[in-house]
């Protein structure tokens, strides 16, 4: 569960990800453009399937059940513990405590996007983002009334099993250490700070301007995303993937309608098909995350829809640009080829996502000044702010993005 949210977290900032301020505009023939996009953000919460906000580490807020305690024992000791629980009327699903965690993620993206005007109507582009990401997790544990009853049952004078009670109490005190030991026993990395820097998925795209009217313009866009970024490790519970590990194909329709010469309304719709693939996945269930074997598993990530509406302003005389817009994102649920229902359900849980954002942008363009020979280079710089309005199963990541474009 945790991994999918973090996975989405990085995709939000990938080079091909949509933002509200699209346009039908293409580069003039022979003109090239390099866009340096940079952003920095953090996240510590997400929305659940009801759209309510909850900590990013919520999937780790798991109860410790008697079943888990039993799993930590073996042989006759396990049998005796099971007998004790049965004799005292404790159910295996009853809890003795709860693990709590605080997880924070941070991501820096530095994404150079190169574009080249092949003709007046066709522009090709390529982007390869570079990620620097880190997460930090702190885990706590609190016993509950179940543990109180358990210890009390062991320490009645007639039961007289203080030795086991003390042993159990010490294990509760070391629950976090023991959790990490159990993770390591099952070939996980312990829950700790993580960071990595690497390239993400490579995006190649083409945009064609179909209609270039005075007031209305139509364009289409298509492209692929190559799986060049690091995928998430099945042995790390808190790492961030920089790519989704399979090929994507996307296509978009864009329309600009000029209300004034310096103000237009853009609408776009984009569909991204995510190709099926196969990779190593932990076959976990909702109740058992740790004792989950790794299996090569066929999967198909859900396709994505992006749609946006924006009002964009560009005043050539001053070079000031700006805009206000909204963006709708939807990703359909993933599908995993697993026969066991509990595993399949867990792997596919909370992968159906949607979100609604609003965005604002303010920038400055020297293109007109350059053309007037008043500025040395044709470039634009803009500052963009994006805020999540509502979402389901999506990390809450408001951020500010800085773009610098140079035309040459």
């Amino acid at each position: 569960m945790l991994k999918f949210h973090l996975f989405f977290f990085t995709l939000l900032f990938s080079a091909e990800a949509a933002h509200a301020f699209e346009s039908t505009r293409t580069l003039p023939a022979g003109v090239r453009n390099i866009n340096i996009r940079g952003l920095y953000t953090t996240a510590s919460s997400k929305t659940n399937k009801s759209g309510d906000r909850e900590p990013l580490a919520e999937p780790l807020w798991r109860p410790l059940r008697f079943r888990n305690v039993l799993d930590g024992e073996e042989g006759l000791k396990r049998t005796q513990l099971a007998a004790f629980l049965a004799s005292q009327g404790f159910g295996n699903e009853e809890t003795v405590g709860d693990f709590y965690a605080n997880l924070n993620a941070q991501i820096n993206v530095w994404a150079p996007i190169f574009a080249w005007g092949i003709s007046e109507r066709l522009t090709l582009a390529g982007a390869l983002p570079y990620y620097s990401a880190s997460t930090d997790i702190k885990v706590g544990f609190r016993t509950n009334v179940g543990a109180d009853r358990f210890i009390a049952a062991l320490t009645t004078n007639s039961m007289n099993n203080f030795q086991s009670a003390i042993e159990a109490s010490e294990k509760f005190q070391n629950a976090v250490v023991r959790l990490n030991e159990r993770l390591e026993e099952n070939n996980y990395e312990p829950l700790d700070r993580w960071n990595q820097e690497a390239f993400g998925d490579l995006t190649l795209a083409a945009k064609y301007l179909h209609y270039n009217g005075e007031r209305v313009k139509f364009a289409s866009q298509g492209g692929i995303v190559a799986p060049t970024g690091r995928v998430d490790s099945p042995d790390l519970l808190t790492d961030l993937p920089f790519g989704d590990g399979q090929w994507d194909i996307f296509a978009a329709l864009l329309a600009d309608q000029y209300v004034l010469p310096s103000l237009f309304v853009n609408q776009f719709f984009r569909y991204t098909y995510q190709a099926p693939d196969r990779r190593s996945v932990r076959w976990k269930t909702y109740d058992e995350t740790v004792l989950a074997p790794k299996r090569e598993t066929d999967f198909k990530l859900g396709d994505k829809i992006d749609a946006g509406l924006s009002f964009q302003f560009e005043q050539e005389s001053t070079g000031i640009t700006g805009g206000l817009g909204g963006l709708y994102f939807r990703k359909f649920g993933d599908r995993y080829t697993v026969d066991e229902l509990a595993i399949k359900s867990e792997l596919q849980r909370a992968t159906d996502q949607d979100a609604l954002y609003w965005q604002a942008r303010l920038g400055y363009s020297t293109v007109a000044a350059y053309q007037r020979k008043e500025f040395a280079a044709p470039l634009t710089a803009s500052l963009e702010y994006r805020r999540q309005y509502a979402s389901r199963n999506v990390p809450i990541t408001d951020f500010t993005q800085l773009d610098i474009n140079l035309f040459f």
Binding site: I36, A57, T79, Q80, N102, S134, G140, L154, F162
Partner: protein
Amino acid sequence: MNDYRLLFLGALALWACSCGRWASAHDQTVETLAIPKYPKVSDDVFSLSSRKPDTTYRATMLFIHEGADPMLLGEVLNASVYSREVFANARRFELVNDYKNLYSDTGLEPQTVTLMKKDLNTFELSQLQKNPMTIEERKTKIKDWFDQKVGSLPFDAAQRRSFDDAWGAYCEAKIVELASNSVFAASSYKELPTPQGLCSDYYASAGLLAGASCQNPKEGNYFTCLWQEGVGKTRWFQASAELTAEASSAMAQKKSQLQELLKVPSNFQKVLALDPTMVSINSNPVKNKITPNFFTSIFTQQLVKEPGNNVAWCSVPPFGIKDRKLSGICTLFGLAPLEHSPAEWINSLEGRSSENELFTIPPPTDVTLARFEDFVRYLGERDKGRSSEGDRLFHAPLQSPKPLVAPIFNDAGEEFLDRLDSVKAELSSVIYGSLDETALAEKDFRSKNISYREAKIAEMQDESKVLEAETERALSRGLKATNAPGVAHAFVEIRFHFRQVGSILVGEFWPKDAEVGNQAAGLFRGCFDLSQQETIDCPAELASGDSSDIRVFPAQLNRDPETGQINLAMKVEDPDAASLILKPRMEVEPGETPNYFMDLDSSAFKGRQLRFELFPNRLQDSLDILTGKVFLEDETRAVFEGGISGWELWD
């Protein structure tokens, strides 16, 4: 080139603003319950210089089956805890109430109550003698009381007729009983002693005890009267139309035999009176039977029902009956052809037998009130040849060097004793006369005191029985649980004995099956110096107290002062001598309680270490217990392991 420099600078700025920042999560707390502490038990056998320097633990040793079903094993655990709890209840009851010394059957309280009752009787009689009632007065009053009592019984006409028939049989049976009573045969009376004070009307109406021999006999000897005019005229000697010809003939023969006996009544009387000149007793088995009740029991029981015994008795010479005519006395009574013996009628009408009731009288609705049979019994019972209260009240011995005592009905059963006060209260004014006010108050006080003590004894004994039954149930539950298939390799009863010799703690272990009589034939022994807190070899002088037929094997004893844990480990070299041997499971029907068992044979123990990890505790501040684990280990691992549950033994 300026363009590119500008782009480079922009990119560098973007890079710089995003580097060097790392995610940081908030610390989370670990909040768990406090770690429990081992219980501190003071003044137990493991405490140095304890006031309790010697404790034997009764324990069970369970070797758990590796594939045991947790649910079944859980029941074993529950049974184990339940056992300790119920034994703690029993121990606490014993300690709080000092039950054994005070309230058990042999305790001080029941003995005190018996004495108090005797004292009360003596007191009452002595007080009544201050206003004595004559025998004639008693006879008159009891006759009126009886008429009124019978009249109040809820009989219809048919039932009344049946009652009268039964009452007649009873009154006649009482004649046989008194006539064959050794005390009567040896006594003289101022006037005819009545066999039962309540029967005077019947005897008069039936013409019994009314012949010439009953009128002022010489020296107050009513023997002939009672036999001639009493026994000889009872239904056991009377032919009637209801009898078959064969039975009538037998009756005639019996009567003829009796007449023969009574031709020389003195000899017959001497035999019944157990006169040593007539009865020489050489055989111990027979001598033990010769009691004042001996002949009574023969005559009233009618040995004809057991012809073999009858013949056998008659052929035994030790009785030394010199008058050969007397040799027929057994057949005289043994040939009675009637369906019911005198004893059966007596037992029925006196309510002394719940079986074969010949006539049933409806009891009062209030169970605490006396039944009709209780009054009859109170006045008529001659238990084991002793005199009855009726004898004491209605007989007038010619010479009475030793006054008759009131019966105490020790063997009468709780139900009768519970109603006895009601009987006495109702008859008090009829047969005893009256006490003056002061005596009555004292009697009342003493009676209440006795009643209170009896109630307390009954309460304590009831509680003791409940606890005893509960402990039996607990043990049975444990045996059933452990005998379930696949639960255990062994469930055996064992003993631990710990004692302090100076500052040395001596620990001994043996299986219960190793006991011969009350002591172990083979045991393991280890020693621990409590003052130095170290395991030591047991001093040689300890062995000096051992019986020569005990085999003692060495063990290592250790005690952890922090946790109180007791460790006792021993190498089992000779499992047969230590009784660590196969003990087959008992085959039982469903619902029955199986026994302890050991599926492991001696080879499983031989050469291995048996090790106990024991934790002492005390339940309800009364019962010291030991629980823990047992391991049977070879050099590398525990081959078998299981649990120990034990509690101290007490007397």
